[in-house]
């Protein structure tokens, strides 16, 4: 008997662990990712396929398509159900809903598999796939797997490290009560040295400010705008090119 229901017990256990994991809010990035993927894309389909279909009726390809297809269907329909529920689409509501679906599927499957009549029924068309590979075939598939993983790693590495032109953002945003926010953000590839001037109608609002920003670093300040002005402008210069405006923003009164 244990062999007949082992897979179902495993599926139920995985769903319960995923539920507990999501309800308790434990922070383990890898485990959470694996359990989340299983709970949405595999377990509901596996449980429902086991519950709704006789194993003798479906061969391996059909079983695979039903497992993943049913999981996708449950996810789509589940989203509608959660939307209509008071809880909406939240981590906990998803986890509870999907675990419930898995449990129902496992329950039906257990009932069907443990029925005495079921034990006697033959599986006329069940064609077990034999994974009878030779050593050289294993080696080829292993190499294929390594090459595929290498391709994925190379692609990620190159995408993340693609060299784009560096850039620096300068902004001025008027706020409430005559206050404006002036900010600077570096998207450059190396530390940058800047000089910032902020003037209102030709008069300095803030003394020349020398700034050094690391890549991805930001700097912000607030300035008080004059009661009346025609032009407030913030100009950014690179330290090594002090006469050439690098960035320029304005507010017009």
């Amino acid at each position: 008997m244990s062999n007949k229901v082992f897979d179902l017990l495993l599926v139920a256990l995985a769903a319960i662990v995923a539920l507990i994991f999501n309800l308790s809010g434990v922070e383990n990035v890898v485990l959470r990712a694996v359990l989340g993927i299983l709970l949405l894309l595999f377990l509901p389909g596996y449980a429902l396929t086991a519950g709704l279909f006789h194993s003798r009726d479906i061969d391996l390809p059909t079983r695979i398509i039903l497992i993943f297809g049913t999981s996708l269907i449950v996810g789509v329909v589940g989203g509608l159900a959660l939307h209509a529920s008071p809880w909406g689409l939240q981590t906990q509501s998803w986890a509870a809903f999907l675990t419930a679906v898995v449990m129902v599927g496992v329950g039906v499957a257990l009932f069907r598999r443990l029925r005495p009549a079921q034990e006697m029924s033959p599986a006329p068309d069940a064609r077990r796939v034999q994974f009878d590979f030779t050593l050289s075939q294993f080696a080829m598939m292993g190499t294929a797997l390594v090459l595929t993983l290498a391709a994925i790693l190379i692609a990620f590495n190159n995408d993340l490290n693609q060299q784009y032109s560096g850039f620096t953002q300068l902004w001025i945003v008027p706020g409430e009560a005559g206050i404006a926010e002036v900010g600077l953000a570096s998207g450059e590839h190396t530390p940058m040295h800047y000089r910032l001037t902020i003037e209102a109608d030709g008069e300095l609002l803030i003394e020349d400010t020398e700034l050094t920003l690391q890549p991805d670093e930001r700097w912000q300040t607030e300035i008080t705008l004059p009661q009346r002005y025609t032009l407030v402008e913030a100009t950014l210069y690179l330290a090594d090119r002090p006469d050439e405006a690098y960035r320029h923003v304005t507010l017009k009164g």
């Binding site: 297809g69 996810g75 598939m141 032109s165 945003v173």
Partner: protein, 636 residues
């Protein structure tokens, strides 16, 4: 003696031997699967290296890319066209090919969204994630929230797994891709009762121009289509002794899932089922067509469109009308808009048209084989009838300037039937005794003469010919598909070139608007920033004010444009003035010189906003400047 009869007899002596192994459902080993998994992995590695070379600006990257794609496809295609291949090897290879082609798309940009359609759909997912409810407005693609199936899957996975929405969407698409390749195979196998026909049709389906990239994107059809094909397979199984209530439960839920995931896919599924039912009734076949599925799906579609997605009609009707008007306009000498030839290099155009020609020319032969073999299943006849729609899409594509988009979008559906007929033709060529060749009297017809000649070719020639045709379709599918040739490989910024225009400076400028300006401001943009400002900036992007950009100064007409469009902010990307728009337009099809730009947009025209007293220059990142135009448009 009939022409070629001697050769036929020779072939027949040979064929029974291989057929015993070819069409058997018994496994006879893994054959070349391990070796071909290795060659496809090598191909994928080459494709990824091509992406890397292209990012570095290497001119050799295109050659390496094609070498990689062909290494993935050709050996597997050749193997599946052979006759002595076991079912399990065929299925494994079909799945392998489908997943490797998926990786070829996924690894184009493995760490961030770049494709415009994905960016539009992702906006819906982001809004759902924030609100915890479906049907959140999406100004980029207003119809998208009404079909939330895909988005809620991605949101669900992101919430459960802690992965980003982007990586969650990739995982959902992995599952969808597995379903689509298996569903096509199993469906084809069920109706043809031939693993060979099924596997050849399945790989030919992968040559459709949308398969590699578009059908693997985070776009609602990528999920709806696999589910629809799964439902078709379940509908077939319902007619057998293997039908169970469980199957009906899954099918019923599946119908709902397809209905709420993608409009056109649900209509196509309904159309297929209705056609199947009508043919079955007309021919008085005994098989059972699941009428309940037709009634249920029709009911779901009607209810969904009326109560949840009334916007669907406004969204689809104009596109179809324009396409058909374009078709009639072709015969009207006074029509202003003509079909533009594709801008691909000549060699790519040859493959694009070659692939269309191969499929179009194969269909009559395939239909002949279907006619002669007298397949039992009515679904085969449905496929035969549906395959004729391919000629309709070709007409739209070739004759209607506005129909190119509709024809392109219909490819995943039309190919489903058309490639099956082509696979039947390829299979029929190997087994002339099944087909009863045209008689001498009929040989006056070119068609019959050609068929006779093809049937009597040596097996080696037939094999090489079939591989060559499949390869032409594969290459033609890529050249006709997505991305366009200038963006097929990732790399440095290009002017208005879809994926190649997405770079960190644009993304960060969009993110800045979200932080500094708040959300859903109506913001004037060019085509590229439409996607960026809509998704990363969560703004209400408007690209319909081209005159404001092209005009040398801001006058009353430009002010009026801004006012009518209720523009609050305006994005200028000065890089537009450094090159011609590769997609043909910087903004919209009705901009000045659209699709005929000979010089880039004037840099002075883009800089004019600095001199307007009512316009504030809020943001400057070098190439990208964002202006506050509320004082001019009088919007608060």
């Amino acid at each position: 003696m009939q022409i070629g009869e001697k050769k036929l007899l020779k072939a027949e002596r040979f064929l029974p031997k291989v057929q015993r192994r070819a069409d058997t459902l018994e496994a006879v080993g893994w054959g070349l699967m391990p070796l071909l998994s290795l060659t496809s992995a090598v191909g994928l590695l080459l494709v990824v290296l091509a992406y890397s070379f292209s990012r570095g600006g290497s001119a050799q990257s295109t050659i390496v890319y094609w070498l990689g794609m062909l290494t993935i496809f050709v050996p597997i295609a050749a193997r599946l066209i052979m006759v002595d291949v076991s079912r399990k090897e065929r299925i494994t290879l079909v799945v392998f090919l489908g997943m490797m082609l998926f990786l070829a798309k996924a690894l184009y940009s493995p760490s961030q969204l770049r494709f415009h359609d994905e960016l539009q759909q992702m906006r819906s997912a982001v809004e759902i994630m924030d609100a915890g409810r479906l049907f959140q407005p999406n100004p980029m693609l207003p119809v998208s929230p009404s079909y939330p199936g895909l988005q809620n899957m991605a949101v669900g996975l992101a919430q459960l797994s802690g992965l980003s929405l982007f990586h969650s969407s990739v995982m959902v698409n992995v599952a969808a891709r597995l379903v689509v390749v298996l569903a096509t195979y199993l469906f084809y196998e069920f109706i043809s009762q031939s693993p060979r026909v099924a596997s050849v049709a399945a790989i030919l389906y992968m040559t459709n121009p949308h398969f590699i990239f578009f059908s693997a994107m985070f776009a609602y059809q990528s999920l709806a289509l696999p589910l629809a094909l799964l439902l078709l397979y379940l509908a077939l199984r319902e007619d057998t002794k293997r039908s169970t209530p469980g199957l009906q439960i899954v099918a019923a839920l599946g119908l709902l899932a397809v209905t709420v995931t993608h409009h056109v896919t649900s209509y196509m599924l309904l159309l297929f089922l209705v056609l199947w039912y009508v043919l079955r009734m007309t021919l008085r076949r005994k098989e059972r067509v699941p009428l309940w599925m037709i009634v249920a799906l029709a009911g779901m579609i009607v209810v969904w469109v009326i109560y949840f997605a009334p916007i669907t009609i406004d969204y689809l009707a104009p596109q179809i009308t324009r396409a058909l008007e374009g078709l009639t306009g072709f015969f009207n000498p006074s029509a202003t808009e003509r079909v533009r030839p594709p801008g691909n290099p000549l060699i790519e155009q040859l493959f694009t048209y070659g692939a269309a020609l191969v499929l179009a020319a194969s269909l009559p032969f395939g239909l002949w084989v279907i006619w002669k073999r007298q397949y039992n299943h009515t679904a085969v006849l449905v496929m035969a009838v549906a395959s004729l729609a391919y000629y309709g899409t070709l007409a739209l594509r070739l004759l209607s300037a506005q129909g190119v988009e509709v024809a392109g979008r219909s490819m995943p559906f039309v190919y489903f039937a058309a490639v099956f007929v082509m696979a039947i033709f390829i299979d029929g060529v190997w087994k002339p005794q099944d087909v009863s060749l045209p008689t001498r009297r009929n040989l006056k017809w070119l068609f019959a003469w050609l068929l006779n000649r093809i049937m009597n070719l040596p097996l080696e020639v037939k094999f090489l010919g079939a591989v060559a045709l499949a390869t032409i379709m594969f290459v033609g599918g890529i050249t006709a598909g997505w991305p366009p040739h200038y963006a097929r490989l990732p790399g440095p910024y290009l002017v208005t070139a879809y994926e190649r225009s997405i770079d960190p400076q644009g993304v960060e400028a969009a993110r800045w608007t979200d932080e500094a300006l708040g959300r859903n401001n109506r913001i004037a943009v060019d085509f590229t920033h439409y996607a960026l400002m809509g998704m990363y900036g969560r703004q209400y992007p408007v690209f319909g004010v081209p005159r404001v950009y092209f005009s040398p100064r801001i006058g009353p007409r430009e002010e009026q444009d801004l006012r009518l469009a209720a523009i609050r902010y305006l994005v200028v990307d000065n890089r537009l003035s450094t090159g011609l728009p590769l997609r043909g337009t910087y903004f919209v099809p009705w901009e000045p010189d659209a699709n005929n730009h000979t010089i880039p947009i004037d840099a002075a025209a883009l800089a004019k906003f600095d001199d307007v007293p009512e316009i504030d220059r809020l943001f400057d990142s070098g190439d990208i400047v964002i202006y506050d135009v509320r004082a001019l448009s009088r919007v608060q």
